[in-house]
Subunit: 456 residues, 2 copies
């Protein structure tokens, strides 16, 4: 706690210092002040500034640092004016970046601006970026970079080291050396260890190991993340349908994807459109949440209609009105539990979640938890003022039934959605609370009017 507070203070005073230097027009001092800071930290610091101030910082920073900072910034915080008005500056910034980061930044611009920026770049780079921009953003092709370090399987170790040296000098960090045949088809990888340890005249083919896994450009990024995480891969090759190496995806891209997809899942699950930017403004939050609340209003109106149907019962046994929300809340809670486990299970390994075993398990959990909670509720129902043994029985059965429905539906709906190719996280708890409300009220009031009403 103390740590967070002191971190926050340092952060605040640094932001203030930057703001001041910008206001005073002290460009040189601002550059000197920022130069020793890591681009991720600069991105973080300037996120709180006004858009023009962010643009000022990006103009002042030296080439590569400015580029890296831009790449580390959230898309929502890119200074639009700078990006839209100065295609030369954008071209300058992206030319310093890895192709995947460059394509991300260019891809966010309007088509017209994309063309202007690409026109400013060297022909071969523009060509590669156009290729990357053609892939769907959420696929392996959209995430990969085309800058791979690759050697021919026919080279010797000494030739390969020369080649790597040449390629590394122009590119960014690399973690894996890929081996390709004469047609560019991927044959495998060689490790640095083997390169260093092997005799210089040895053939690369002899020390090549087959790739642990390869992915096609069309594979969904979430699936790529699962493959890489499963096999602990630092870098995964992307191949075209003829098995030719066209790019690679590295662990850091994957970490970003996992973070983003998890946030999206959790927000969807809670009834928020997946795109809500966590640090976004009030207006955006309202836009992302209000539609779901309106949906909830109409679905719970069905629950209200069930009560209206039984209004005579409620009028005569008014204690039911106090019990209703207890049944509804417990059903909602149990449903959310089943739903969360199933959604997370599907997110981590969809192919391992067998349909009926998942559903049957949740059904069993609902059956047993329902019996226990039902018995407790029965006790309360028979002891409260105005309660009776019979009321207790009705409460127990309604609670039990509702928790069974909650468990079953909590597992069934997301597994079904997954089968249908829909993200199971959209089976949000908003629907669920309404669903269990409807069943809960129906069970409670239906039973009450059947069993209790004749005796009132």
């Amino acid at each position: 706690m103390a740590d967070n507070v002191s971190e926050e203070l340092t952060h605040k005073s640094t932001v203030e210092r930057i703001r001041q230097l910008i206001a005073e027009g002290e460009e040189e001092r601002l550059r000197v002040y920022l130069e020793p800071i890591h681009p991720s930290d600069i991105a973080d610091l300037i996120e709180e500034l006004e858009e023009e101030e962010r643009a000022a910082v990006l103009r002042v920073l030296p080439g590569e640092l400015a580029s890296e900072t831009l790449a580390e910034m959230e898309e929502e915080e890119h200074p639009e004016d700078l990006l839209l008005a100065e295609p030369e500056r954008v071209a300058e910034l992206v030319s310093e970046l890895a192709h995947d980061d460059a394509a991300d930044i260019i891809g966010d611009l309007p088509l017209e601006k994309q063309r202007e920026v690409l026109a400013q770049l060297p022909l071969d780079e523009a060509h590669e970026l156009r290729g990357l921009l053609a892939y769907d953003e959420e696929t392996a092709g959209g995430v990969m970079t085309t800058e791979v370090v690759a050697v021919s399987e026919n080279a010797t170790v000494a030739e390969a080291i020369d080649e790597i040296r040449r390629q590394a000098a122009e590119g960014e960090d690399f973690y894996t050396v890929f081996v390709v045949d004469a047609d560019g088809r991927l044959r495998g990888t060689v490790s640095f260890q083997d390169l260093i340890v092997s005799q210089p005249q040895r053939s690369i083919r002899e020390i090549t190991v087959p790739p642990i896994s390869v992915v096609p450009a069309s594979m969904d990024q979430e699936e790529v993340a699962r493959v890489m995480s499963r096999y602990n891969m630092v870098s995964i090759p992307v191949v075209d349908p003829a098995d030719r190496l066209i790019g690679r995806i590295t662990f850091d891209d994957i970490m970003d994807i996992v973070e983003a997809e998890t946030t999206e899942d959790m927000l969807r699950f809670s009834g928020i459109s997946g795109e809500e930017y966590l640090r976004g403004g009030v207006i955006q939050s309202i836009k992302n949440r209000l539609p779901w609340l309106a949906v909830a209003l109409s679905t719970t109106s069905v629950a209200a209609a069930v009560i209206y149907l039984y209004r005579d019962t409620v009028e005569q046994i008014v204690i039911l009105a106090a019990i209703m929300p207890v049944i509804a809340a417990l059903g909602g809670n149990a449903g959310t539990q089943a739903l969360a486990v199933t959604v997370r299970r599907l997110a981590l390994s969809p192919e391992r979640a067998r349909f009926w075993s998942v559903v049957l398990k949740e059904l069993a959990v609902g059956l047993i938890n329902g019996a226990v909670i039902g018995a407790l509720a029965a006790l309360v129902g028979s002891l409260i003022p105005g309660g009776s043994l019979l009321l207790g029985l009705v409460v127990m059965l309604a609670m039990w039934g509702n928790l069974i429905v909650a468990g079953f539906a909590g597992a069934f709906v997301p597994v079904l959605l997954e089968r249908l190719g829909v993200d199971p996280a959209v089976a949000s708890s908003v629907f669920f609370t309404a669903l269990t409300d409807i069943f809960g009220f129906f069970f409670l009031l239906g039973l009450a009017s059947w069993v209790l009403l004749p005796r009132v």
Copy 2:
């Protein structure tokens, strides 16, 4: 969809084949069948087998493959009999593993067994493992491995390459070469590129770059994950208080941590004890969920008491009974939305979530969404049979008030918990639905008995 189904079929038939070979005692054919499969995939296949079958597979697999498979298996699926009864076999298995994986497996055994296994290992290895076992499992020390590739800053490039070759020959994969001074203090890292490109007689000191970040052994693993993800680090050095290099943590450990912590957060958030193993059995799920349901039963009983307090009002204006659950559900939904955004925000960057800006934002969202949903609800309230303009007004105010409370509390409670050093994800939606129920009923029934009752 079709893909998942066909994957599932292949998976099923492979599992069947393994089961059959075990039953027939065909050890040799089982070994040949499994040898070409990646340990992660074997772990996945045998998870569905009985415990004795899993033990049989681990006995049949050749040394390193058996070890890697064991390391990839979920802790809950380790064949206990084998681990408890055969310390020699366990020692054999763990001696093939990286020290962090070895320590994880040994750390799960009872203390007595840990001693027996360590006694079977070479002295120096046992010593290192004892050191690792002493760290809290969820800190950098508990996650790191002590097998680092490090060279002296005083070495030449040629000497360093020899040293790396020697160290690499005995160790596992490495991604970063660390540079230390004569006292073992970390000075930085050298890249493979620079090692390959530099003149053999050049001093390592000249090509050493300072580490982007270092972490102490006591740092919480979630914090380590944030640092590595922030700076895109493939491997991070762990240092003691005197800055001596004592280990390293790699990206694959971090991916596992992020996965596990995210699951834990999402489950807690949904009212499930964090330890629920996603593919665990019914009994375990009941144990993890029932206590929360019991808590929910007692908290919603407070909501029920509020209704009981106003039972005369409900008896006289029975339409209120139908409106109650709508107010409660919408409050619960809006609260869950605010809670999810805040919990996720805190999980991703606690130091950036400023207390009042978070709370004020959610308050503002609640204020506006509450006004819109309140107006819609008022419309319904005045048009339904038995409704009136005045009832509509009461419904609107109650809805509005409840959504403001939901927004405020949804942000305030998790931020407060974070400040107090408690995981904000424990502010689960179970509490929230109860909280918003209580306020919602209080607003609705209180207003109704004040405004509507005198006119009935």
